[in-house]
């Protein structure tokens, strides 16, 4: 895969106080600052309507920022239309031109980039080979499967050697099995060629799998930026904790803070963890389902409400005075029966404190 002549001109992308207002008062993106390093894959993640696609389209130049500055490489592109930016995009619907063959589709951008016909053709063939579609050049897009169309769209964007490559929910029209494959392909092409990629998705698992950096967005603003690990292990608030992976959010009380360690109390059960600069008082504990321990000597009294066998593990729903939590256990040989009263505790690593909310 590496012996191709597609080079990378990867450049960083920077947003400085960028806002986008549709009409008079619909704020789609509200004053965001963002920096994507050259050669990295950054994901814009969030629920629908959070402004992630608008942000992507502003990088592409398909939407113009209402205020702020957008810089790609060392060029201020805020006022440049899509045509004049060195950016290409893979659309959610692929947007392959149905009246052109696969090769014509891939050559399309090259012919407007000053290459002569022969050069454009050989570059396009190269791009098709890179995405594993050698020999498909004379087909029409309508004669390809969904996954193949997707790869043509990627090739079409890649061959331009853009400074930034954009993906708008590229996997959403594919079936579940193909998704893993395509997302791995995209990631390996990105890493092999050292491309700067900005990737939009609403699927947190997809984001965790492909990203160097994830930008979680909510209500037109950025909720948190970090590596997949940071976001999963140390979410900044309830929204991020709940959106990235599943998290049980339990009300607790910080009874003592000692340096960076805090002690919390839930129904008499005490647990020690990082304080994250929270003061003594009420707070929220976020615990991943796998970090809940069931059946220890001490802990919070709870009752098994549901027990589900899913093959690799057991899934339990526990209820108690704290409400309801969802837990998974690797022990499938001696499952707990629904109705059993148990004690619930937390693993030493994993649970994080969040502000009360």
């Amino acid at each position: 895969m590496t012996d191709t002549n597609i080079a990378s001109k990867a450049a960083p992308v920077r947003f400085e106080g960028v806002s986008k207002v549709f009409g008079k008062d619909v704020v789609a993106v509200d004053n965001i600052d963002l920096h994507v390093e050259a050669g990295k894959l950054a994901t814009l993640l969030g629920p629908s309507g959070c402004g992630k696609t608008t942000t992507l389209r502003m990088i592409a130049g398909l939407e113009m920022a209402s205020s702020g500055r957008i810089v790609i490489g060392d060029r201020d592109v805020t006022k440049l239309p899509a045509t004049d930016r060195d950016v290409s995009m893979v659309f959610q619907s692929y947007a392959l031109f149905p009246h052109m063959s696969v090769l014509e589709n891939v050559m399309y951008g090259l012919t407007f980039s000053g290459f002569d016909k022969g050069e454009a053709r050989s570059r396009a063939l190269n791009g098709l080979e890179l995405v594993g579609l050698k020999g498909f050049d004379n087909r029409l897009p309508s004669e390809l499967s969904g996954g193949q169309q997707q790869r043509v769209a990627v090739a079409r964007a890649l061959v331009l050697e853009p400074q930034v490559l954009l993906f708008d929910e590229p996997l959403s029209n594919l079936d579940a099995k193909l998704r893993r494959q395509v997302r791995e392909d995209i990631r390996s092409i990105q890493q092999d060629l050292g491309l700067t990629v900005v990737y939009v998705t609403h699927d947190q698992e997809e984001a965790l799998a492909v990203s160097d950096e994830i930008v979680v967005m909510r209500n037109a603003a950025i909720a948190q930026i970090g590596t997949p690990r940071q976001l999963y292990d140390a979410p900044i608030d309830r929204f991020v904790a709940d959106f990235i992976g599943e998290a049980n959010l339990i009300d607790c009380k910080i009874v003592e803070v000692d340096g960076d360690q805090a002690t919390i109390e839930i129904e008499g059960h005490r647990h020690c963890l990082l304080s994250r600069d929270l003061p003594v008082g009420p707070a929220t504990l976020a615990v991943r389902p796998s970090r809940i321990l069931i059946g220890s000597e001490t802990g919070i009294p709870a009752r098994v409400a549901k027990a589900t066998y899913v093959g690799v593990r057991m899934e339990y729903t526990l209820t108690g005075a704290f409400g309801q939590v969802f837990a998974v256990q690797d022990d499938v040989d001696d499952p707990l029966q629904p109705g059993t009263d148990v004690k619930m505790a937390f693993a030493d690593r994993g649970p994080v404190l969040l502000p009360e909310g």
């Binding site: 899509a82 045509t83 950016v87 959610q92 619907s93 031109f97 399309y108 029409l140 964007a157 029209n173």
Partner: protein, 726 residues
Amino acid sequence: MIFWIIIGWVGYCLLPWYMVEGGLWSFEWLFSGYPFDEDFAPALFLTAQGEKLWLVPLLIPLALPLLVLGKPKSDPIYAKILILAGALGFGWLIAQGFGIGIRGFNFDWLKALFGEPKIRQFGMGYGAMLCASAFLFLLTQGIAARGAVNGDVFVVSAIGGVITIVTAFVFFPIANMLFSAFVTEKGAYSVFVFASKFFDDRLWGLGCFWGAKCGAAWNSLFLAILVGLITTVLGLCFALVVTRSGFRFKRGMRALTVLPIITPPFVIGLALILLFGLSGSVTVFFADLFGVQPTRWLYGMPGVLIAQTLAFTPIAFLVLIGVVEGVSPSMEEAAQTLRANRWQTFRTVSLPLMRPGLANAFLLGFIESMADFGNPLVLGGNFDVLSTEIFFAIVGAQYDQGRAAVLAMVLLFFTLSAFYAQRAWLGKKSYTTVSGKGDAGVHPLMPNGLAIPVVAIATIWALFTAVVYGMIIYGSVVELWGVNNTLTFKHYVTAFSVRFEEEGIRWTGAAWDSFWTTISIAAIAAPLTAAVGLVTAYLLTRQNFAGKNAFEFGTMLSFAIPGTVIGVSYILAFNVPPIEITGTGVILVVSFIFRNMPVGVRAGIASMSQLDRSLDESSLTLGANSWQTFRRVILPLLKPAILAALVYSFVRAMTAISAVIFLVSAEYDMATSYIIGRVENNDYGLAIAYSTTLIFVMLAAVGLLQFLVGRVQIGRRTQIGAERTT
């Protein structure tokens, strides 16, 4: 099944077998000699009295189904008997219908076989129609029982019904007409007759290249190609302005799309006469200004061309606006991110993707121009085109059916070739967006170099159209155009005066007769058109059966057949038994149904393909049969489509002229043919006043539709709702 057996017996034993005088709605026959009088008697009484003995064999297929009454459907005998009974009965009915006409046997070999008995019969009446439908549906039930289309009785019956009526009212008259082109004056068949009429100089002459007259065929062809091209370009300009520009008066331009629907076809010609005719305002103005003699330049090719362009540009606009909006925005955005500038994007992506729309718009303009009858009649002067030539061949002093048929064949050949040319040009390439999902985004604006001329052209043409329509209204209240320009309501009074008397309102105006006839015929035709159209659409979108493509082609065919051709073929075919309806209101209704059916079919297909098939399937699995599903699930969801089909066919029936002019009679005169009659008498004031009234009546009908459709809300996902409003 029992229902159709009863219907069959009722038709045979109780109702008059033959067409009764006074039309379908008169029940006089009940009191004058029924059931024994020969004219009104049911078949049973006829045969019992020893008359029309060839109806006796029908008793066999009528009796046959009684044998299987108690049998279960799965019994192979059941299906066989029903098919046998249906086929026998239907076949015999048709055979005797065509075999024996008013003057006895229709074919010489029958005469030879049976001698020349004194037998004759008239057109089919109630009894015969009921019997025919009973046999038809017994046949389809038998076919369904054998397992065709999953043994679905409703679907098989619907297919059978549609095929039968389309054959009877589209294929039969056309075929009949084609044959009559070969008939000599003595009634024999001859190829030479056809050839002599076909190679007539009036048809194919090329005199116009050296100063003489060209043949009507060439005239029509040149005119249609020009009109097709110009309307397509203008329509594209309008569509681009409305969807791809920041132009301020876009909404006003959109209103243009309503115009062709509500305008009787020749009204534009009239307005052009008021403007550019010998005493038209513009002509007189320039004549005074430059001191030149006013000329009759308008009458002929230029006038017809301008009138047709004005009339059909909105149709092209209507077609193209959907297509231009239908180009997926992400295609154009993709092109932009691939470094194509706006002009390159437009040229390499937008325009090619609009190709099917452009082809369609051209085809429509071409066919409409070919079929247009009103404008050439009003403005043609010495410029002969096929549609008017056909008319004069039938109604003129020459009365030459064969010539009319030949002309109609040439016309039909042109329109059908255009159909094929369109298919060929589009080729196998795909123009539809590959995936319909995730098409957010907006259409880019046109590049400036394109936008300025396009907006200019569209604005000028829109203003011209507005002036022309203004002229229509103004012209209707002027005493005598160009001679006495005082304002008056005289024409309206002549046409639509009413007197209130003791016994009620008396409609004394000259136009009332044709006005009410038009309204009632249109009102009868509209629901029937909608019904036939929707059932056909249901079959085409929801069912799979052998020969579906041919079925679709057949139902759309009547759209490609110009109205004049339909008109000629109807009077030729339905002047004689077994279907003898010339001169009645029925023939008008029937012609409207089959002229406008494609509209209903298209409307139905468009909205049915938006309804998820799983709706039907869930209804079927819940125990409903397909008729109940159609009735309870599909129909309620199709209310907007039904309303649209209803109003559209109503309005089209009111504005139609080309087919109607052949089919009207003294008793059933339609508004449009009445107006044409006024125009031929140079009574422009009345004609324009009447046209104006029609425009407003139809505007009201369309407005009512919009109001009703606006209120019919169907719970659907909002995304689809959004798509439908754009």
